[in-house]
C-alpha cells in the first residue's frame, strides 16, 4: 500500500531539526501530533520509514505512531499531489452546493475524492467543516482559502496551479 521510497536525508534531517527545537523548549511528551504535522508538511505524506524514524526519535513503539497516523484522516500514508485541494462539505458549504463544486473539481481533474492525479500535481479531498462558514462554499488549496466560489471558478483555480503560480512551493 505505502510506497517505501528511501527518504532523502535532507527531509529526515529537517524533521530531526524540528524535533530538536521542540526538545529545547521542553519535554517531547504529547508532541507526536505536532511532529507528524511538520513531517507531512516536509515530506508531503507519512511513509512507513518516516513514521519509524519519528518513533525511534521519541522512543515510542512504531505501532503506536502508526496507530495515530491511521486514526486521523488529515494524515496520509500515500503520496499526495503537490497541491491538495480540500473541498469543505460542512453543513453551510453543503447547503450552498459544495457537492456540485466537488463534482466539478472531480470532472476537471479527472479523479475522485481521495485520489491523486497521475502527474502528482493534485490530490482531491472532501473535508468536514473548516470553520469559515461565512465564506461558504469554500475550497482550500494547500493553505490558501478560496471563499464563496461557484462552479465557474473551478477551472480558474486549477489553472493558477497548473501554471505553477502560487502555493507554498
Amino acid at each position: 500500500m505505502t510506497e517505501n521510497t528511501c527518504q532523502d536525508h535532507g527531509q529526515l534531517k529537517e524533521i530531526d531539526d524540528f524535533i530538536d527545537q521542540l526538545e529545547k523548549q521542553g519535554s517531547l511528551d504529547g508532541k507526536l501530533i505536532a511532529i507528524l504535522h511538520k513531517a507531512q508538511e516536509i515530506v508531503g505524506y507519512l511513509p512507513d520509514e518516516v513514521q519509524t524514524h519519528i518513533a525511534r526519535r521519541l522512543a515510542m513503539p512504531p505501532a503506536r505512531v502508526n496507530g495515530v497516523v491511521t486514526f486521523y484522516s488529515y494524515f496520509s500514508t500515500v503520496p499526495r499531489g503537490k497541491y491538495v485541494v480540500n473541498i469543505c462539505m460542512g453543513t453551510a458549504c453543503f447547503v450552498l452546493g459544495a457537492d456540485k463544486i466537488l463534482e466539478e473539481f472531480s470532472k476537471q481533474l479527472g479523479i475522485q475524492a481521495g485520489q491523486t492525479t497521475t502527474d502528482h500535481m493534485f490530490t482531491l479531498n472532501a473535508l468536514r467543516c473548516v470553520g469559515a462558514c461565512g465564506l461558504a462554499p469554500l475550497a482550500l488549496v494547500n493553505d490558501k482559502l478560496y471563499g464563496k466560489i461557484t462552479i465557474d471558478d473551478v477551472k480558474g483555480i486549477i489553472q493558477e496551479y497548473r501554471e505553477g503560480g502560487v502555493g507554498n512551493e
Binding site: 513514521q51 525511534r56 513503539p61 512504531p62 503506536r64 502508526n66 496507530g67 486514526f71
Partner: protein, 581 residues
C-alpha cells in the same frame, strides 16, 4: 473519609456494602452477582488494568431520574444510595443486543475454532441465550498473520477489546501491537501490518492469554507430535516444564492448585512417548552452570549483574531494546534447550539410539518457547506444545486423566531437586541459583533455603535480597513483567545498578501464567494457587539443592566434566543476537 470507607448501594434490591472507589462490576462480584465483561481486565496485585469501557457487554441499569439509565458497570463507580439492576429486562436486552452486534461481524466457525469452548464471547452468547443474529451487514476481511511459530492472529475474530494492546504496551512495554485505522476499519495489528515474526514481539503470549476470543492463539503442533508418535521409526521423547504440573489439572476440572505431576507423567506414557523426561532436571543443570558462571563473573570481573536467561521472551526483549547490554544475560541456554541438546547427545549415547531417530518434544507453559525452539542457533527441540495442547491430546486419546495412577519420570533426566521445581514461578530461578551459589562458594550448608524476599507476585515491585557470602555482600533482584525488567535495565545503562544478579521472567507471576497455560481468566487467585503447588513440591522434597541432584552429578562425571567446562560450554551455552526496534 478514608479510602476504605463503605458505600451502601443496592444491586438487584440486595443491599451491598461496597468499597469507596469500586466500580459497579467490582461491587457486584463481591455480592456474588455475575456481570459479563470482555474488554475489562483487572489484575489488582499485578497492576494490570484495561478499562476502555468499549465492549459495553457489562451494561447495567442505574435506577434514578425519570427513566433510569444504561451504564457500563466496569466504568461506573459506586456512590452512597446508588441502585443498580443488572438483570432488568432493559439491561438484559441491551446486553444481548451488544453481543448480537458483535456476532454480526464475527466468523461463525466456532466448531473448528482453536478457542472452541474456551472463548468468552461464545460463553456469553450462550449465557444470554442468543439464538439468532438479527443484523446483517458488511463483514471485516483482514488477512491472518501466521508468520510466527508461536502466535497466530486472526483479526476477523477481534472484538476490539484491546486487552492485548494493554498487556503488550503497558505490562510488557513491548509495543508490538496497536489499534490502527478508524471506524469499521479499525483493527489491532503491528506497525504497518508487518508480519509478527519481523517485529519486536517477544512472543511472551500474554496477548493470547488475555484475548477473550480466537483472535490471538498459540500456534499448534499436536498434529506433528501425533505423526511422530505413530511413526515406528522414531524414538519420541518428551520433557515437561516445571509449571505444567501446577496447571494441567485445571483442563480436566480439577481445582486450581492441584499438583498433577504423577498423572501428567502417566498420561504422557499412555500417549506413547518413549521417554518421559523433566525440564526440571535441566533446570538443575542450569542452576549449576549459571551458578558457576556467576562465581566466575564475580571472581574475575565479568559483566555484572548477571541476568538469568531461561525466559526466551525476555531474551528477545533485551536483544531488541538493549542490544548494548547483551553481555549481561547468562550465556546458559534455557532448560528446554539444554535438555534438547543433552537428549540428542548424552542420552542417545546412553540409550544406544541413533540421534537422528529421536524426535524431541517439549510441553511448555509458554508460547515464546515455540519461537525459541525455532531460533537458528538452537533447534535441538523439534516440537513445542503448550499445556493446553497437551490437554487436548490427552482428551483426544480418550484418557480419563482424573482416574490415572501416578507415573514416574524416567530415571535419567527425570529427577529434579526442589530448586529446579520452583523455576516456574517468579523468584524461583534466582532462589535456586542462590542455594547453589552460596554452598559452592562457602562450602557450608545454607541454613534457610527459602528466600522469602524474592517470592510473591506484586506487580511493579522489584523484589530484592542481600546474601552475605564470605564477608562479601551479594545484591540480587527479581523482576517479572517486562516493564519491570525495563526499569532495571535503564538503571544498569545509567550506571545506577548495584546488583550482582537479576532474574527476569516476562510473564506476570512467571511461567505459571505463561501464554500456553490454561485460561486463568485473569484470576490472581488461580495464579497464586499454581505458585503454591511449586513451592510445596519443593518444600516436601528432601532433595532441594540442584548441585545435590544425583543425576546432575552423574551427568558431569560421565559426560561434561566440570561445570563451565569447554564441553559444557559447547553444548549448554549460547549467544545472543543484536536486533533493532
Amino acid at each position: 473519609m478514608s479510602d476504605n470507607a463503605t458505600v451502601n448501594i443496592k444491586i438487584n434490591d440486595i443491599p451491598v456494602a461496597a468499597k469507596k472507589g469500586d466500580s459497579v462490576l467490582d461491587a457486584a462480584k463481591q455480592a456474588g452477582i455475575h456481570i459479563p465483561a470482555l474488554c475489562y481486565l483487572n489484575m489488582h496485585d499485578l497492576e494490570v488494568l484495561n478499562r476502555p469501557a468499549s465492549c459495553r457487554i457489562c451494561v447495567v441499569e442505574q435506577v434514578g431520574g425519570r427513566k433510569g439509565k444504561l451504564v457500563p458497570a466496569c466504568a461506573t463507580f459506586v456512590f452512597e444510595g446508588m441502585e443498580v439492576r443488572t438483570n432488568s429486562k432493559r439491561a438484559l436486552h441491551a446486553r444481548r443486543t451488544v453481543v448480537e452486534l458483535m456476532l454480526s461481524d464475527h466468523p461463525t466457525d466456532c466448531l473448528t475454532c482453536a478457542k472452541n469452548l474456551d472463548c468468552q464471547l461464545q460463553t456469553f452468547a450462550a449465557e444470554l441465550g442468543v439464538r439468532e443474529i438479527p443484523y446483517e451487514g458488511e463483514k471485516t476481511n483482514f488477512e491472518q498473520d501466521l508468520s510466527s511459530h508461536s502466535i497466530l492472529r486472526d483479526p476477523n475474530k477481534c472484538i476490539l477489546c484491546r486487552r492485548c494492546e494493554a498487556v503488550c504496551n503497558e505490562v510488557q512495554s513491548v509495543g508490538a501491537l496497536s489499534a490502527v485505522n478508524r471506524g469499521f476499519h479499525t483493527t489491532v495489528t503491528t506497525a504497518f501490518d508487518t508480519p509478527l515474526i519481523d517485529t519486536q514481539c517477544t512472543f511472551c503470549g500474554q496477548c493470547a492469554a488475555v484475548c477473550p476470543t480466537g483472535a490471538i492463539v498459540g500456534a499448534a503442533y499436536t498434529k506433528e507430535v501425533w505423526n511422530a508418535l505413530n511413526d515406528p521409526d522414531k524414538y519420541v521423547i518428551v520433557q515437561t516444564a516445571p509449571a505444567i504440573r501446577a496447571a494441567l489439572g485445571e483442563l480436566f476440572g480439577l481445582p486450581a492448585g492441584t499438583d498433577v505431576t504423577g498423572k501428567m507423567v502417566e498420561a504422557l506414557r499412555r500417549l506413547g512417548f518413549d521417554q518421559v523426561l523433566s525440564t526440571n532436571f535441566t533446570a538443575d543443570v542450569t542452576v549449576v552452570e549459571e551458578g558457576a558462571e556467576l562465581i566466575h563473573r564475580v571472581k574475575h570481573g565479568g559483566a555484572l549483574p548477571m541476568v538469568t536467561s531461561c525466559c526466551p521472551a525476555w531474551i528477545k526483549f533485551v536483544e531488541h531494546h538493549y542490544p548494548d547490554l547483551l553481555d549481561l544475560p547468562s550465556s546458559c541456554k534455557s532448560p528446554q534447550e539444554m535438555l534438547g541438546a543433552l537428549a540428542k547427545t548424552y542420552l542417545a549415547e546412553k540409550l544406544g539410539i541413533d540421534p537422528s531417530k529421536i524426535v524431541s518434544v517439549s510441553v511448555m507453559p509458554c508460547l515464546a518457547k515455540k519461537y525459541e525452539a525455532n531460533r537458528e542457533e538452537l533447534g535441538d527441540v523439534d516440537y513445542v506444545i503448550s499445556t493446553r495442547e497437551l490437554g487436548r491430546m490427552i482428551k483426544e486419546a480418550g484418557i480419563s486423566f482424573n482416574d490415572l495412577p501416578d507415573g514416574e519420570f524416567d530415571s535419567f533426566m527425570g529427577t529434579s531437586s526442589g530448586a529446579g521445581d520452583i523455576f516456574g514461578t517468579t523468584g524461583g530461578v534466582l532462589e535456586a541459583v542462590l542455594r547453589t551459589f552460596y554452598e559452592k562458594l562457602t562450602n557450608k550448608p545454607l541454613e534457610k533455603l527459602e528466600f522469602e524476599a524474592l517470592r510473591g507476585i506484586e506487580g511493579t515491585v522489584i523484589k530484592e535480597a542481600e546474601i552475605e557470602v564470605d564477608g562479601t555482600k551479594l545484591k540480587v533482584a527479581v523482576a517479572h513483567e517486562l516493564r519491570n525488567a525495563r526499569k532495571l535495565l535503564d538503571d544498569i545503562r545509567a550506571g545506577k545498578s548495584e546488583y550482582h544478579a537479576i532474574e527476569i521472567m516476562a510473564c506476570p507471576g512467571g511461567c505459571i501464567a505463561g501464554g500456553g497455560q490454561p485460561n486463568h481468566n485473569s484470576s490472581e487467585e488461580i495464579l497464586k494457587k499454581r505458585r503454591e503447588v511449586l513451592y510445596s513440591v519443593d518444600k516436601n522434597k528432601s532433595l532441594r539443592r540442584a548441585h545435590d541432584n544425583p543425576e546432575v552429578k552423574k551427568l558431569y562425571e560421565e559426560f561434561l566434566g566440570e561445570p563451565h567446562s569447554k564441553k559444557a560450554h559447547d553444548l549448554l551455552h549460547t549467544e545472543y543476537v543484536k536486533r533493532s526496534v
